[in-house]
């Protein structure tokens, strides 16, 4: 029982990390949006698994919200934003593909090392996936810092949020519902504000 629980969450977490790597590999924005959408579906899957095996029924609601908000609404907003910014196509990332991938491999190793004390402390069956959540956080941070296309930066930020949500799910079966709802609201508002700002901008840099 525990083994299946652990295996399912590990698979979901690995899928999420690999989809973040897909953003570093592919060059076109629709691929980024698809990667984010699939990553959110994987996150909802992990949430549902934790809700089922960990016996935390409010996580079913959270998983459904993740699916609705990050799996459907936000990708649609992003797709509309992408259609309005054709000039971004020529912007190349600050770090090229090979170095990005190698660096993210390094970040994953670092994440394993950093999360060792945390994994030792936690006794839940999901703790195997904790390093993957931390790796996802670090890789998303790297995506935000090294991409010059606006949509890529936003996707990186959203993946960062996904990573933290994964950390909460695997580490403590989710945070209290109030905070979770607050986070959803913040993310939605953030994306809406970003969408409002983007059309008037020139070429931005995340300095």
């Amino acid at each position: 029982m525990d083994a299946t629980f652990s295996l399912l969450t590990m698979t979901g977490a690995s899928a999420m990390l690999l989809l973040a790597l897909a953003v570093l590999w592919r060059h076109h924005v629709p691929a980024y949006i698809t990667a984010f959408r699939m990553q959110s579906v994987a996150l909802a899957f992990v949430g549902a698994v934790v809700a089922w095996f960990g016996d935390v029924s409010e996580l079913f609601l959270v998983a459904a919200l993740i699916l609705a908000l990050k799996g459907w609404i936000v990708p649609r907003i992003l797709a509309r934003m992408e259609a309005r910014r054709p000039g971004d196509r020529g912007l190349h990332p600050l770090v090229n593909t090979e170095m990005s991938l190698l660096l993210s491999g390094g970040l994953a190793v670092a994440a394993y090392e950093i999360s060792r004390p945390v994994a030792e402390v936690i006794s839940l069956p999901t703790r195997g996936g904790l390093p993957l959540a931390l790796a996802l956080i670090l890789v998303s941070l790297f995506i935000v810092v090294s991409r010059r296309q606006v949509i890529a930066q936003i996707v990186g930020f959203l993946m960062l949020e996904n990573g933290i949500a994964l950390l909460a799910l695997l580490g403590a079966y989710g945070v209290p519902l109030v905070v979770e709802l607050g986070v959803f609201l913040d993310v939605l508002l953030g994306v809406l504000v970003m969408q409002a700002l983007v059309p008037g901008m020139g070429e931005p840099s995340a300095g």
């Binding site: 790597l21 593909t97 991938l101 491999g105 994953a108 390093p131």
Partner: protein, 313 residues
């Protein structure tokens, strides 16, 4: 004593099977492209024909040009000894482990590249430099992908890895195993010069990597190099099959078990070769500067697999 006999038998098996594998892939690709295609044994006939031909050696070629085919063949044969084929009795382990395998493969690649450079032709040099770019990423990837399995098994000997997986199948469940397999397959495509990295059937010199290096060779030298390439493909396919999906290998030295193991390994190679043919028909060749990106992906996958194996020992 039996282990030496077994190792020799496995080597002979691989050596004889190699051209058939290449022939099978070519035939299947032809069929998928609505052509009739030459049969499975055409590569054997080609070898016999090419061996009998005379050689034309460039004036600018040196001793390196003559040495290279022998070194390539020798290193590939030595690497083939290390690979567990149809028996799980770890026959090849007394000769070397995963690191020896990688060293032998890179030795062969290096001399092939030197042989391409030696006559001083433009295409040869171009092929050699491309090959080294690709090899720089594939060799570590192959090594680290197998290392991920070695870390779980606790030993770097290929036979031990296979044996451990046979006895504890639970090790194979988990994303680490799948990631290592994916990384191994991508690196194998690059190492053996198949699509999407290099088109083995191309006649356009500017798109060649492997073929460009052997452009100057003719006669017996060419036959040896072609056969070594076929053997490399076969041994890597066998390695992929047996390291990641070892079930079916003979765990005892009885005749029945060995025969069964033989049939199973032929079947596994056939499945992998079919998938290879399907993939080659489906994808187009990647532009050269995109190849390192693909290889970086496979390297990262291998690194992730090894990291998760290392930290969850």
């Amino acid at each position: 004593m039996t282990t030496v006999v077994l190792a020799a038998a496995e080597l002979l098996f691989l050596a004889i099977l190699a051209p058939a594998v290449v022939g099978y892939v070519r035939w299947l690709k032809a069929r998928l492209q609505s052509r009739r295609g030459a049969d499975l044994f055409q590569p054997y006939r080609e070898f016999r024909k090419t061996f009998a031909k005379g050689m034309v050696i460039a004036d600018t070629a040196s001793w390196l040009f003559h040495l290279a085919p022998y070194v390539v063949v020798a290193s590939t044969v030595a690497a083939a000894v290390l690979v567990p084929v149809f028996s799980a009795s770890q026959a090849g382990d007394q000769f070397g482990d995963l690191f020896a395998l990688m060293a032998l493969l890179i030795l062969g690649t290096m001399f092939l590249a030197l042989g391409g450079l030696d006559p001083g032709t433009a295409f040869g040099g171009m092929g050699s430099s491309r090959e080294m770019t690709v090899a720089a990423l594939t060799e570590p990837t192959l090594a680290i992908a197998v290392l991920a399995l070695a870390l779980t098994a606790g030993s770097s000997s290929l036979g031990v890895i296979t044996g451990t997986l046979l006895t504890t199948p639970a090790n194979a469940i988990g994303p680490g195993h799948a990631l290592a397999f994916a990384a191994f397959l991508i690196a194998m495509l690059a190492e053996t010069g198949r699509l999407p990295v290099d088109n083995p059937a191309t006649h356009l010199e500017l798109t060649m990597i492997h073929e460009a290096m052997i452009l100057e060779y003719s006669g017996p030298y060419l036959a040896l190099l072609e056969w070594a390439a076929a053997l490399k493909l076969t041994l890597l396919l066998t390695l992929a099959a047996n390291l990641f999906v070892p079930w079916g290998m003979a765990t005892s030295v009885g005749a029945a078990a060995l025969a069964f193991g033989l049939v199973v390994v032929v079947a596994k190679i056939a499945v992998l070769a079919t998938l290879l043919a399907l993939l080659e028909t489906r994808v187009a060749k990647l532009r050269l500067f995109r190849v390192p990106e693909l290889l970086a992906v496979s390297f990262t996958l291998a690194l992730l697999a090894a990291t998760s194996s290392f930290f969850t020992r």
